[in-house]
Structure formats: C-alpha cells, structure tokens
Symmetry: D2
Subunit: 294 residues, 4 copies
C-alpha cells in the first residue's frame, strides 16, 4: 500500500456572462484506492453539483461560474493498494470470455482509431505469444518510436497522428498504445491522474494520462511515456480516451491558466513511508468486474 | 401507437477453427417500445450468452460459432408509443441542466469529430435561434448537401469525410448530423434499427441508422437521410456512433452474406392498422432520464 | 506602372558541420516586372550558385553555409506594369484551349487537394456563370469563411484542413482558393512575394502568398487574404503551391530567426509616386504564354 | 538493349455534349528509349493536338470527342538501352551537388507527403550507409510491409494512407517509396509505363507505375511492387506523382471501360530476342541532365 497526497489548483478568467465547467479532478473511490482525506474549495460563491458515474467511478463536478476570476482548489490523501502479479502468469482473455461491460474498450474511439491501425498491429504483434508480455512489447514499441516533446501535439491529435509523427506527450503515448491493443482485440482504456513522477525535478508537475489493459481478469496498469513508476499513479478518471475524461470541460469564454499540481508520498504512521518504485511485477489497481455488479 | 413486425436473417460461412460474434439485433425493450412477441433461432447447436446494457438498453448476444455455415434468424413484433410535441415548444437544454449521463453525447467520438467541425457549425448555426428548429435546420443542411449513394463510403468513413465528400449512406448522414449537433453543445446520439421506409419498393431493405438529439428533457428522433417517416423506426441499438452499435461484431475468418431484412405494419386487433406517417410534430420514443435511475 | 523598393533580411544560427540552403528571395524578372536595381549580400564567405527556372522564372540561390551565424540580405527596386481589364470581359478558358504548359495548374498538388474538394466546389459554384466573376466569388467565399489568425496553422496545413478549420494565414487562404479553382478546372497557382500591405501599421511585415488564376489567356492576380491591394504585390516565386516555392529550403541543423521584411513605394523621377491602390479592374502581371516559347 | 512491342486500347462511352481528354499513352522518346515504330488511331473523326513537355519528355494528346463511343488505339515498338552499374559504386548526391531541375523531386507532392513521413524515414533509414543500397532497403521495406491487393485503394489514396493501411496496387507502392526517399532528401519520381511483367499469366495486363531515384548523377529504376523485372519497363510518363501523369485525364460525362494492354519482347533481326530479366546490377534509362540543357 502507498499513501500519496496531491493537490490541484486551477484558475480561470471568465469574460462572458457566465461559464459552465465540468470538472473531473477528484480522486476516484475504488476498492483499491481509498480517499483518506480530501478538501475542495471554489473561489466564487457558486454551487457545485456532483455526480459519480456508476460504470467508471468517475466523479464529476458541475459548476456555473460568474465573470471574473474563478479558482478551484482540490487536495486529497489517498491510500492505494496494488495487486502484484508475475507477468508470465497473466493471459489475454478470449472474446468469448470478456465481461460484456469490458467490450466497449475493444472498439475504436475518437482518438484511438484501432480500426485503421489493424494492419500495423497485426504485422508487428500478430504472431507474438499472447499475454501480458505482448502488451509490454506494445508499450516498449510505443516508447521507442515516440519522442516525448512538449508542444508537439494539440487537442485534436489522435493515435493515427502520433503513429505517423512519432512525437507527443503522455496523452498521445497512451492513445497510441490503446489503439494498438484494441487492434489486437485486447481491451484497453485511458486513465487520467496525478503521477508521482511529476516531481519538481522533472519540470512542472501536470496532469497525467496512462493506460490500463484488460488481462487475466483484471485491468493492468501501463505507463507508456515512462515518466512515473506505475505504483505512483493516482486514479482520477477512467474512459475510452481523452474525449471521455478531460479534467476540465469548459463552456463559455474564458482564459485558462496552467494548472498547478503537486504530489508527495506521505508517511503512514503505522508503516512509515513507501516510495513508489518500479517493479518487475505487473500491477493492477482495478479488478475486472464492475462495482455495480459485485 | 404503432405495431411493427420485422425480421432479420444473417448468414456467414466460417472458415477458421471458430468465430466469435457479438450481435445487437434484438429490439430494445424500453418504456416506449414493447416487445409483443419475438423469436430467435441459430443455425448451429451453440450457446448464446445475452446481456442487456443498463445504460443504453442495448441487448447483446455473444455466440461462438463453428466452421461451416452459420445462420441467425430473429423475428419480432413491437408496439411503439410515440410522444408528439409541437416543435416550437421544444427548447435546447443548457449545459447546467443536462442530466450527467447525457453529457457523454456532447463529446466527440470515433466517427463524429465534433471538435473539428466547431468552426463550420458555429458559422452556419451559431447565431440561429436555439431549440428544436435549429436541430431541424441542421438535419436539412445535412440532407441538402449530402448525396445518398450506396457504395460511396466504407466502415472507416467519418463525419469529417462526409462533410468533405458530401455523399454517403444513412450511417454517414447520421454521423455528420450528430457531429454538427455536438459542435453546438447539443447532445446527439446514434440509433440503429429497422425502418419502415425499408419497404421493398425502395430497394433491398437493410439495417438503418438515425439520430436522436436531447432537447426539452427528451430524446427526439431525426432521420437525416429522409428514407423513413420517424414514426416507422424500430430501436435496436443506441450509442455514441457506429463504433458502439454494430449489429454484428465479428472476430475470426469468415465470409458474411448480405443481411435479409423485412418489416411490415401490422393490425392491432383492437385498433386496426396504423401506418407510419410523416408528422409536423416532433417525435420522441425515449425520455431523458435513465431507466436504471427511474 | 508602380515602382516598389523592398528588402529582406534573413538570419540563421547553424550548429551542424554545415548547412545547405536553397533561397528563392530574388524578385522575378518578367516582361511585367523589371528589376531596376538589386543587391545581395551573404554574411559568410561562401559561394552562391544561382539558377533561373525557365518555366516559372523563379530565381534560386544555393548556398552551403558554415557553422555559426549566417545572414542574407537582399534589396531590390522593381517596376511593375499592370495589365488592367474590365472583369466582365474576362472568360474562363475551355480545357480544349488551355496552353499545355498551363495544364499542370489544373491538377491537385501537395497542399491543394482539388480532387477532394470537387463536391464542395461543384455545389457552391458549379452552376454559376463562368468567367472572372466566378473566381471573384470563390475569393469572396474563402475570405468570408476563413479567419485570419497568426499561429493557427503550420507547415503541414493543407487546403483541406483550412476548409474544415476555417482559419489560417495568407498561405492557407491561397491554398484553399487554388484548390477550389482547380476543382472547377480553372488553372490556379501560388505566388510568393512581398506585399505593399505589409506596411508597419499592419504588424510585422512578412513574406506573402497570393493567387493567380488563368482566365482569358492571362494569369490574373487574386489576394484572398485581403491584406494588400493587388497592385502592391512583388513577384518572387511562382509554383503549384507552397511545396514548390518556399523562400528558404533548409537542410541541416540550425535555428532560424524571423525574417525582416520592408517595402515602400518609391518615386519614379519622371512620374512621381504611385501608391498601390485597390481597383475595380482585374489585374494581371503575367501573360499566359511561357517565356521560353515567346 | 531490349526491343519491346506494346499496345494500348481505350474505350469510352460519352454521354454529354462533348468530352475533353488529355492522354499520356505514347512511349517517351529519350536517349535511352528509341521509338522504332508507332501507330495511333482514334475511333472518331476528331483532331488530336500533341505536345511534348520539354522538361519531362512526356507526350500529351488532347482530343475533344463527340457523344457516343470513343476508342483510342496505340501500338509501338521501342528499343530500350539500359545503363547497368554495380550497386556499390552508386552514391547519393549531396544537396549542394544536385542539378537544380532535380530539386523539385525532393519536395512533397499531392500523393507523396514526404514532410509527414520524415520521422518514420529517419527512424528506419537515417543511420543507414548512404547510397544505392539505402534506396534498395527502402524498396524492400515497402515491399515487405505492403500487401498487393487489387481494389484496396482508390484515386485519392496517398503515401500516408498506404503507410497506415499497408495495402495497395503498384501506384501506391510507388508513392510510398517516393515519399520515403524524399523524406531523406533523395530525389525520387513517379514513372508510368507498360511492364513486361504484365504478361497474361499474371492476370489482366494493365498500366504500370514505378519509381526512379536520382543517385550518382543518373535516375535509377526501382520496381517496389516487384511485378516486373526493371529491364522490362517501357517509359510513358515521368512526373512527381500520379497527379502529374495520369494516362488519361477526362473532362466531361462518360463511362470508361477497362484499358486493354499487351506487351511482348520481340526479335531484333540482328541480335535475336532478349527477354527482360532480373539483374543484380542497378539499372538506369535516364541520365540526370535535362535534354534541353544538353
């Protein structure tokens, strides 16, 4: 188990009569991620509606803000329990055995056009032994061919673009890896969060995006951009791709400032500090059955 | 109320060791669509698993078929109750008032890249009075600029392609209309079904795709390809676009034959026959709240 | 006749062992554009090879520069003679009557995918009366639907992108207008130069790109971005699109600084100053026959 | 030297008032390809204008045909002299040493978006020893990753599509190979012709497209689709890509039938028959200097 404390500060300058926001910045509450403490504050006297999506556990806040400066501050401490598994013991799951609610993660989506990448995926990985190691090979392939370059992509950039241009940021690495997995009928999805790798020495911490692939009856974590150890990832949003889980969806006329993000590993009084580390084991923080069916 | 009877015949020749299918061909059961009778038969001695998605009411069948010929036959009679509303009474719903589970239909998806069509949508419809009439104007715009041409598009064709090429089939008309609605923050979704317009005199009946837009607290039906009166549409699948609701998703090596589809309006003993007709009213067969929250 | 004096200053910081440049920055010498004086200076002791393309009159300089700072300075005074014609007297030229060497400007090119814009062009302009006025309508259509926005496009942006995104800079306006003309079998080409509209009060002067369409046996000038009066344009390069006539094609590792561009209308001792002005007439500075066949 | 005899039969059904054609079906006359005999016949009493492009040697015929059936028949016998060179002796040519009129074949074009394939080309071939062998490696890479599949591409398909979809016909193989060469600053161009590999046993003979790369001061022939021995290729059109050298560009309303193509190796009385064969040598039929500068 690891205890991580993180904070998110957002700031907007609203110029219209009002602006609507849908935020997805709160730590997800799952059986593997316990929210120990959390605090939310809004910089205007406005009401926030909250909603938790029953199928993804995503927590949404809807706010209508007034003209002027609008700030949002969220801080949380979470305990994350990791499931470790020896990679060689993890198989792919045949279509016939996939839970039905996992099927949606096999289909193409806005930024993960797996249908168009089928030829590439089949040529590169079609004859490879199935299992966790094949997905690890896809992750390695993405990491080797793609250059991490801030500013080299934009909100319209998709897996197909990243496949061609071979550069991008964490979101683009994730989209390409997801599309390649799906092209081989391996369910894969997009997770947003805060990463322990976002430590000050690596530049300005920011929101992060990573990948989960459904293998051996669980969702296993992959970090194709290689920024963070997989044990240092907090889960905020889970979806098919970035179109589903933007940390802030904005409607209206405004200026958005860069988010301020911080994260630290904290001491659990009973156990001391455990720092996120790289591991030879496969790591999962989400079992495969949906909570609502449990 | 209208009573429609329809049949679907599918045929495959499977050449590999086995093939997996996920079918979405059964009539949805909703508070507006009652399945009076139905019958399903599979041409092999195989087991079919069934699953109804709680958020869309889509009914899925998963089958693993053996080498050789594999046929599927489904027949159903459904009673459809239409909600009629005077168009001028139907408003758009502000972001602040949208049900949370409707929000996903505002975001871009695989075949409906609303993010990229925002400039076009804003230029054409940004200053138009909001409400049902604006969505009707979008439908008319799609219909006027797009040529219905069998064979002019393929499974990879998206709203962006249809915007440029200006030709396609019902699925392409639906994707373009959906993308334009979402670009204006109007929730819109893709519905598959069988259409009464698929009558023999109009050529070989086939599966159909149409549009629902969320307005005035309900999902209203739009038929951008103009093939069928909106009252003549049976609902099978509901999703974000064609990536979500293929009538048959196939895994394996096979030859697929053209589906055989038929539909007739039938007599309700107590009321006679009511034929689907065009109407000046707006038509809805889906209220806005989710069934599972009801 | 108008006498214009312009200057171009380029600066690079070369970090590799050497770098190759192909410049196309010298004023074209044509029967309508006389180079009165010109001066070129290179900031390194390197040899420049020069070449004038016989079919376009483009003047190229090839230089291999050494590591360190490399500057290029070019100044010229040119006299431009404009051919004025009443728009209603200018017809389109039938395919059967086009000079063979003009045909290449009917075909699609890297940034002007006229083949894909045929549906749009036909729908918008297919039934319009042919002639100069139709091309003017295309120019107006481009100008109305496209937002001039520095930084909204990049070197890979094509006419198709600009058609969708509806924003760009002069180069993008030109590409879209060219593609639409070609889609209607009207030869159109891309011209680079310096524009009198690039006056200090309009921001930092820069290289400019505009359009010529082949009508009535001549190449007529169009300025879809509306920045400069067509009489205020100096011709540097002529080609199918920006892929043909970059002002600087660079090979090697270097940092390029923003070019410094200046232009003024100068006094012709015998005639006084004539400032470029907008005109109701159509304007041409290039007859249709090729120089080498003259 | 090889003597080849080929024939081309074209047929159209014209439904409008008239139709314009620009044909590029006649054997090019170059210093390496001598037209021994040729015969052209048109199936209507119409005049054909002919034009030979001075920079490419392409021979064009322009015809305005009347409603009804229109046929074109062309037969020729050509003697082709091949320049053979040991591959290890052929170097790439530095930018600084390229003839200026070859430069255009380094730039991207409609179907060869070399600018967008630069990352891929650099990753795969950037560190490879320069020379003929590197271009051979590109050819092999194209051939290995691309499936020859009639009907899998269309007239809009570009190198970028073929890179992603990994299937196509000879034209697509050529476009991808050209784009990859240009991305490495190796001039490459598109040649159309008739290929001896188009023998009856390989299916219906058809027009062919292949590649020339500029190396060691000459244009060397490459046949990425692997259909024909490079010594069995007749040259008809030379251009930047398929946009430049369509065998028939049509303007008007018509139905086009599939072309009839035949080719045989014929006996030269003084030397017997020499059949086209594969060779370990590099083969060129075009020196690098332009005829008009000779």
């Amino acid at each position: 188990m690891i205890r991580l404390q993180f904070g998110i500060g957002l700031k907007y300058e609203i110029s219209g009569t009002s602006a609507d926001f849908i935020f997805n910045i709160q730590a997800a509450r799952t059986s593997s991620q316990r929210v120990v403490t959390e605090a939310l504050s809004l910089g205007q006297q406005v009401e926030a509606e909250s909603y938790t999506d029953p199928s993804t556990d995503n927590r949404y806040l809807r706010v209508q803000a007034q003209p002027g400066t609008f700030t949002v501050r969220y801080d949380a401490t979470v305990d994350i329990t990791h499931h470790f598994e020896a990679p060689h013991r993890i198989d792919e799951v045949a279509i016939a055995n996939l839970p039905f609610d996992v099927m949606q993660y096999v289909y193409p989506s806005r930024y993960c056009q797996s249908d168009r990448l089928r030829a590439e995926a089949t040529r590169e990985f079609g004859n490879m032994r199935r299992g966790y190691s094949r997905v690890l090979a896809i992750q390695e392939w993405v990491r080797q061919r793609t250059k991490f370059q801030i500013g080299s992509s934009h909100t319209g950039t998709s897996a197909l673009d990243t496949f061609v241009e071979q550069r991008g940021v964490c979101r683009d690495f994730a989209h390409l890896m997801i599309a390649m997995c799906r092209a081989l009928n391996i369910p894969a999805r997009f997770v947003t969060g805060i990463d322990y790798g976002a430590a000050p020495e690596l530049g300005v911490p920011d929101f992060h995006a990573y990948v989960e692939a459904y293998l051996g009856g669980r969702w296993y974590v992959f970090e194709p951009s290689g920024i963070s150890p997989p044990t240092g990832l907090v889960r905020i949003g889970t979806g098919r791709d970035a179109a589903d889980v933007s940390f802030a969806t904005m409607f209206g006329t405004m200026k958005a400032y860069a988010p301020l993000v911080s994260i630290t590993a904290v001491e659990d009084p009973s156990r001391g500090i455990f720092l996120p580390e790289h591991s030879a084991d496969a790591i999962s923080t989400h079992h495969g059955e949906m909570a609502r069916l449990g």
